[in-house]
Amino acid sequence: MLKLEIGRIHIKDIQLGNETSVKNGVLTVDTQGLIKFLREDERIKDVKLDVAKPGEKVRIIPVKDVIEPRVKISGGNNGFPGVTAKQAQCGEGRTHVLYGAAVVTVGDIVGFQEGVIDMWGEGAKWTPFSQTFNLTVDIQVADGLDPHTHEETVRIAGLRAAEFVGLVGQDMQPDEVVTYEMGSIFEETAKYPDLPKVLYAEMMITQGLLHDTYIYGVNAQTILPSLLHANEELDNAVISGNCVAACDKITTYQHQNNSAILDLYAQHGKEINFLGCIMVPEHTTLSGKMRASDYTLKLIQMLGADAVVVSEEGYGNPDSDLLIICKKCEKAGVKTVLITDECAGRDGMSQPLADTVPEAVAVVSGGNVSHVVTLPPAEKIIGNVEAIAVLAGGWEGALLEDGSLQCELNAVIGATSEIGYHNVTCRLY
C-alpha cells in the first residue's frame, strides 16, 4: 500500500558558509540565504545561526524543537504537508535525509522554558542530540506578538529551516537507502497469518499552547484517536508544538525517526505483524481521557490486534491516560507494553508511580525525571543565558562554586524519552 525509501546522506561535520552544500560529508549552510528565507515571515525580527558539534564544550538552551533536514524526491510534497506544504499523502515515494544533522530551534516563548543540550561531557550522555551535528536557529520575533503567534512563528521557522537545508540533498546520491514497505492490513495478514498482530499507540501531548502536537497540520487536541500507516510519521506527517516537557517531549526529529515505529518495523514479518499506529490525544478533561481510551481500544479491537505498545508523552495528567488505556486493553485481552518515565525523587527512594494499576505488568522505564546530573560550565552558550538562571534557580545549591550546575534530568532534551528513543532506564537497587 505504501512504500517509502529513505535515502541517507551521511553528515560528518557542519559549518556555516556562503552556500549550502555537502562535500565529503561536511554540511555547509548558507548563512545569509537561510536568514533571508526565514525572514520572509514578517513576524521574525532577527535570526541568529550557529553550529554545535559533538564533543564541543557548547550548551544549547532553551531548546524549542529539533528537526531533521530532509527533501522529498518523489511522491507527496516537499516539506511538512498541511503545515509548510500543501496537503499530500506522507509515507510514499523517496525522501533524502541529511543523516546525522539536525536543526535545533532556540528561543523562549515563556521565561520558564528549560531544555538543555550539552554537546560534551556528563550532559552529553543524557541527550541523543549531543550526537548530531546541530545547526542552531535562534529566533527573535517581532514585539507584541501574542504567545500563540509567537509559538507558531518559532515552530514554523524551525520546519522551514530544515526544509531549506534539506534541499541540498535533492540531487545527491545517498550513502544508503532504507525501504519501508507495508501493504494493507489484509495483505500483510495474508502474508503472515501466524504472526501476532501488533499496534503502536502513540500518545501525544495535546492540551493547549506549548502543549500541542499536529498531524498533517491538524491540532491533535481536536481529533479522535486516528489510525496512521506506519510510514506516515516517518515521513513528516507529525510535528511537535510543545516545548515545556524537555526530558520527555517528542521532538519533531523523534517523530520523523520514531524509534518505537522503527523497532516494531524491524520485527514485522519476523516475530510480529505490525499493523500501524494509533495517534492518541492526551486530553485535559477526565471525560476526554475516557473518550480517547475507549476509542483507542475500539480501534485495536476493530483491527483484531493481539498486542499493543503504548508510549506516553509528558508527565502528570497523561500518566492517568496511560494507565487507563493499559487497564482497558489488558481487560479486553490485548497484551500491552507501556513505555513511560518515572519520578522516584532525587534519591530514587520514592515510589516511582503515584498512579498504579495491577494490569501494568510490562513497563519500560525511560528513567527517573528527578535524577540529578551535574553539568560543568560550558565554554560557549547558544541561546539565552537567562534560561540557565532558571535552571540554576531551581533549588538552593543548584549552582556549585566551580560554576557547575546541578539539574534534574527533566531539564535535558530527550533524556527520559517515552517513545524509548534514548538509552536511559531505572533499575531496582
Partner: protein, 139 residues
C-alpha cells in the same frame, strides 16, 4: 457548599453553576464565571479540591498539567462539577495521587517567582483549551 478560609466566591452573570473553577490565578478569576479563587498556593488548591471531591464533587479536568515544567507553576486552575450524591472513588484516588506527585516534585524546589506572569498566562490558556475540548457537550 462549604466555602472556608480565604476562598472568595466570584460569580458574574447568570450562567448555571454546573462547572466550578478552583484557581489561584487572578487572570482566571477575572475572565471566568463560577470561580472559587484563593490567594493560596497550588498545594492549597489541590487540597481544597480533595476536600470537595470527598464531599461528592467530581473532577472535570485533571488536577495536574501534562508537563513537568507546569508542575512548578505557582498558579493552577482546575475544573470541578457540582456534587453528586456519592463519592467518586476514582476521582478521590486521582486527586490523592496528584497531591503525592505534586509534593514529590516541589518539596525541594524554590518557587519560580521571576516567571509568575508567564505562568499565569499559560495556566489561563491551558484552562481555555480544556473548556474547548468537548464543544458539543451540553453545559
Amino acid at each position: 457548599m462549604v466555602v472556608s478560609g480565604n476562598y472568595a466566591k466570584i460569580r458574574k452573570g447568570r450562567k448555571s453553576m454546573k462547572n466550578i473553577i478552583i484557581t489561584n490565578n487572578p487572570l482566571v478569576a477575572e475572565k471566568f464565571e463560577d470561580v472559587y479563587w484563593t490567594d493560596g498556593s497550588v498545594e492549597e488548591i489541590l487540597i481544597k479540591i480533595r476536600d470537595l471531591v470527598y464531599q461528592g464533587y467530581e473532577l472535570v479536568s485533571h488536577p495536574l498539567a501534562s508537563s513537568l515544567r507546569m508542575l512548578f507553576s505557582p498558579y493552577r486552575s482546575v475544573i470541578i462539577s457540582t456534587p453528586k450524591q456519592q463519592l467518586n472513588f476514582e476521582h478521590a484516588q486521582i486527586i490523592e495521587n496528584s497531591i503525592i506527585k505534586y509534593r514529590n516534585h516541589t518539596s525541594c524546589r524554590k518557587t519560580d517567582d521571576q516567571n509568575r506572569d508567564d505562568y499565569k498566562r499559560i495556566d489561563l490558556l491551558l484552562l481555555e483549551a480544556a473548556f474547548a475540548e468537548q464543544q458539543g457537550m451540553w453545559q
